[in-house]
């Protein structure tokens, strides 16, 4: 498709030119990510406040996390951010096949993360670490089991919300894949890829905070 046609096709009526449109959508996405920071921020605040008061319980809870799986997941997500950046770059270069490949790789890595997370959740369930009727915690240390239950409540709320955001991200990636296959993107018009990229990096960044806060509190042993 000739470039000018693509440009006209993609320029929304209320923008003067593609440059204004791109700058606007970029601004909008960054602002949306700020709201996401505030959204997760509430849970981070609750986590930090309780950690100050219930430190022993936080240590006890954290000791039961599987560091290996968490670390693998962290590496998986960082790699997925890499493939996402490559997808954005390929889109900017107009390389449709490479863009699709990178998007697929990102999706695969994303699903790997979710799969490993599912394995972890299953482990927590089997070890009676899910708060509620089934909760039963034994570990060494001076702590109140009720406080450990709160640790796990926040753990599941935070990682669960993160996983939910990843699922949304997977949906967005799928949409990009379909659009890309249909030739929607070009060197002139590729901002959707870039916007989803921003979102994906943000979700990755949230995990990079979650991992040490939840998994790495005061680990003494091999974990």
């Amino acid at each position: 498709m000739p470039d000018s046609e693509t440009a006209v096709h993609n320029l929304k009526h209320h923008f003067a030119d593609l440059e204004q449109q791109r700058a606007t959508s970029t601004f909008g996405m960054w602002l949306f990510l700020v709201t996401e920071i505030m959204f997760f921020g509430g849970m981070f605040a609750a986590y930090l406040i309780y950690r100050l008061s219930y430190y022993n319980a936080w240590v006890a809870g954290s000791q039961t996390m599987e560091i290996k799986l968490g670390a693998i997941n962290t590496a998986v997500l960082i790699c997925s951010s890499l493939t996402m950046v490559m997808a954005v770059h390929s889109a900017k270069l107009g390389n449709r096949k490479l863009t699709s490949l990178c998007l697929i790789l990102t999706l695969v890595l994303g699903f790997s993360f979710l799969g490993i997370k599912a394995v972890e959740y299953h482990g927590h369930w089997m070890h009676h670490e899910v708060p509620g009727a089934n909760f039963h915690f034994e570990h060494e240390g001076n702590y109140d089991p009720r406080q450990v239950s709160i640790f796990f409540s926040l753990y599941f709320a935070m990682t669960g919300m993160h996983a939910f955001h990843m699922i949304i991200g997977a949906g967005l990636l799928t949409w990009l894949l379909i659009a890309n296959t249909r030739g929607r993107f070009s060197p002139e018009y590729n901002s959707p890829v870039e916007m989803v990229g921003l979102y994906w990096h943000f979700v990755d960044l949230i995990w990079i905070y979650l991992f040490p806060l939840l998994y790495l509190i005061s680990h003494h042993h091999n974990g």
């Binding site: 909008g28 219930y54 009720r146």
Partner: protein, 546 residues
Amino acid sequence: METASLPIEPKTNYLNADYGIKSWLLTTDHKRIALLYLGSITMFFFLGGFFAMLIRLELLTPAGDLVLADTYNKLFTMHGIVMIFLFLIPSVPAVLGNFLVPMMVGAKDLAFPKLNLASWYIFITGACFILYAILTGGVDTGWTFYTPYSTTYSNTNVITAALGVFITGFSSIFTGLNIIVTVHRMRAPGLTWRRLPLFIWANYAASVIMVLGTPVLAITIVLVALERLFHLGIFDARLGGDPLLFQHLFWFYSHPAVYIMILPGMGVVSEIIACFSRKRVFGYDFIAMSSIAIAVLGFLVWAHHMYVAGISTYAAMIFSLLSFFVAIPSAVKVFNWTATLYKGSITFETPMLYVFAFIGLFTIGGLTGVFLASVGIDLHVTDTYFVVAHFHYVMVGGMVTAFMGGLHFWWPKITGKMYPEAFAKLSAVLVFVGFNLTFFPQFLLGYMGMPRRYHAYPAEFQVLNVLSTAGASILAVGFVMPMIYFVWSLQYGKDAGPNPYRAAGLEWMTASPPPTFNFDETPTVTWEAYNYDEIDAPKKGVEVAG
């Protein structure tokens, strides 16, 4: 330049550009979306008002004899939830803001029109959850959802209502996001920040609060719902949690939320007072900066709702100090508006009457906030009718009054019709009288010691309660009348023309009702806001307002 002598051509405007329900439900035109919001929030206003009526009827007598205690508790809860989340928060931003922001900045639409439509659908979805909660038994936690009552003890539809609030929160976030991006990125050529109408500054500041604060409410509500579903214990002392944490997280949003509600109203006041004094607003820079100051300071004062909740003495003092600070920018605005009248050329159309009412009532409401910021007094009056009176003065006497004023001011632009001036003035007076009679006695009741959320009360409080209910009946009439005459005006109102008030602002430089894309061509702005000197200049041929 008078165009009133010319016949209004049946040009295509946004109202008649397309017909059919699909053209409304799938529209991306910010003006149509504004009307979708207007219809919805009006319905919710009357629903919330209906609950208020039942509350006031119950409070006519000391005994709890009209409704059961549980019913009463549900009534005040749902009055609060509906009025705050389904009426006040969207009102000016989603109706007047949606309609006017693009026009005032000279744009064809908001930055993200589809997101704007999605906002409305999200709003309606959240409202459906809340309505469902109401219809299937109600909620009785108070709109503040304090734990552990809401998480563990209440037997009502807490989760449904909480989900409804959660969903409408996203509507608010997306509207705010849209407004911020529009103001940053889509101003017409020549329209610098300091040439913007103060309505834009006010809505911009409110949008910043919407965007930063609402997500915290969202996550707090999610945690409450999870806690209730799975018996978690994050906020429940029996399970190791802390009920005060809920209060901190809740008020971290809900205090800035009151500024979301009042700032857009203040923007409306600035526009109207300039127009009907025929001069620029006194102290433009200070009013603009005070909007930003309110937005920033508003995030720092939340625990003044918690002085008696069990926070430390020192925390209470710090929040008290900051709460005094946040009062100052509002005072600055009031003085600047008053000064705007000095050496003006004043007329008394209905919007101006609402503005006068606003300034007086907001001054009282804001100053009674100073009573509450004073910790020593707050210990006596918090959780009493003093607080109820204070927030109704600022919310109804302030915000709703401003909304009514704005609705009247821009009604000609929105519909192309004029409302009947005599009836409009009468209802403004009824609102003012009814409002004061309803809520002023409540200050006295509060200082007397009558707690809020009381279904039955000791007999010595009855006289003031009866006065309050009497006032409410007058207030109700004052609010119903506009419903009737606005609808009447759509068919029988006088044609307005592009600028019946000869007001300044880009929105008045296009037809009434405007065409779908607002301007036939994007204006280039070379003049300051409120250029009434140019508009009213005695020489002919001045090509500014139409």
